[in-house]
């Protein structure tokens, strides 16, 4: 996201799902995103930690254009879209980083993308995943079948094999909403 910030992030509204520590969202906020909403499961500890990382990131502009919210995939989205200044009800960019191992949640994830991604040709959901359990690789990939069935265009754009720690295959997909 940082390498291609001008085309992917700058001036756009960004929503990250299942953010964990929120690193991609922080990078987006640092890279000129108009507004970033970083979310994870609505567990108090998780959201407080996201808020902590925002408040303790000295690199962010003041006031930071990033907000942390709890979000249960598939649930209503108003509490996230209220951060959008333009009264928009959806985001230009979605980030789904390392979520696909949640096989039982794939349908809710696709529904979430439908709810939160703008119905515009330029809107993109960036889906990164690593098959930590290679024997379940097909189950990871089933997410993209669901996305296609839901009307998204899925495009593989990157695969990377890491040399350190464990063999890491990183895939990046575009999911383009049917306009």
């Amino acid at each position: 996201m940082e390498e291609h910030a001008d085309s992917l992030v700058k001036g756009k509204t960004v929503l990250e799902l299942g953010a964990g520590a929120g690193l991609p969202s922080l990078v987006c906020a640092l890279s000129g995103a108009e507004q970033t909403v970083v979310t994870d499961y609505p567990d108090a500890d998780l959201i407080q930690n996201l808020q902590y990382n925002i408040e303790h990131c000295r690199l962010l502009p003041k006031p930071p254009r990033i907000a942390a919210e709890g979000y249960l995939w598939g649930a209503p989205t108003q509490h996230m879209t209220r951060h959008l200044s333009s009264n928009a009800d959806a985001f230009d960019v979605l980030i789904l980083a390392d979520l696909l191992f949640n096989h039982s949640e794939h349908a809710k994830l696709v529904k979430t993308v439908q709810l939160t991604l703008k119905h515009a040709p330029a809107a993109r959901a960036y889906v990164f995943f690593t098959p930590y359990r290679p024997w379940l690789y097909e189950k990871d990939m089933a997410f993209f079948d669901l996305a296609r069935e839901a009307g998204f265009v899925v495009e593989k754009t990157l695969e990377k094999v890491a040399q350190i720690v464990v063999p890491l295959r990183l895939w990046l997909f575009h999911a383009l909403s049917a306009y």
Partner: protein, 187 residues
């Protein structure tokens, strides 16, 4: 064979949605998330009865499969996930409707587990009726937060705090690496 447990699960309104606080039962909330939870709170009931068929061996103070399970063992996760979560679904609805029909609109925690199936009877004998009383060493100690640093292309360092532990991460270090790649690279 399933060992049937009955769990009491609380729901609250949090961050714009109803959240099931499934005590020690992260997989239960997978089955309970969404419509069922909202329906329960619509009826002003903050107590739900659940069936679970294995004693948890971890502190499930996180709530959903694969999100923030603290100390869950992988074999327990396999036991309780996916198809088992579906098994939870129907009994959950059944018990919920039973509870709603017998309680007042005001939240009122049940004091005793009246219906007791034969499968459960032996287990009740082992642990007693108070499901909230766990052995002192039942929970694993909380893991401390850690910090990780990501080097931006500008050369500046971005530090974030990491909390929680997830058995599906197969070592959260590799997952952290994935996020770093995500942050650095785009299309």
């Amino acid at each position: 064979m399933y060992v049937v447990h009955i769990f009491i699960v609380h729901t609250t309104y949090y961050y714009g949605m109803y959240v099931v606080h499934a005590v020690r039962a992260d997989q239960l909330s997978t089955a309970m998330s969404g419509r069922t939870a909202r329906r329960a709170t619509t009826y002003h009931s903050n107590v739900l009865l659940f069936i679970r068929y294995r004693r948890p061996t971890h502190k499930g103070n996180s709530h959903i499969l694969g999100q923030t399970c603290h100390g869950a063992r992988a074999r327990d996760r396999e036991w309780l996930s996916l198809e088992n979560a579906f098994l939870f679904w129907k009994p959950a609805i059944k018990f919920q409707s039973t509870l709603i029909s017998t309680t007042s609109p005001e939240p009122r925690p049940p004091l005793a587990l009246a219906p007791c199936s034969p499968a459960m009877a032996s287990h009740v004998g082992e642990e007693g009726l108070d499901l909230f009383q766990e052995p002192a060493d039942f929970y694993e100690p909380e893991k401390q937060a850690t910090f990780a640093t990501h080097l931006l292309q500008s050369g500046r360092a971005l530090q974030v705090r990491l909390v929680g532990h997830n058995p599906l991460w197969v070592g959260h270090v590799s997952r952290w690496r994935g996020r770093q790649e995500n942050s650095t690279h785009g299309s």
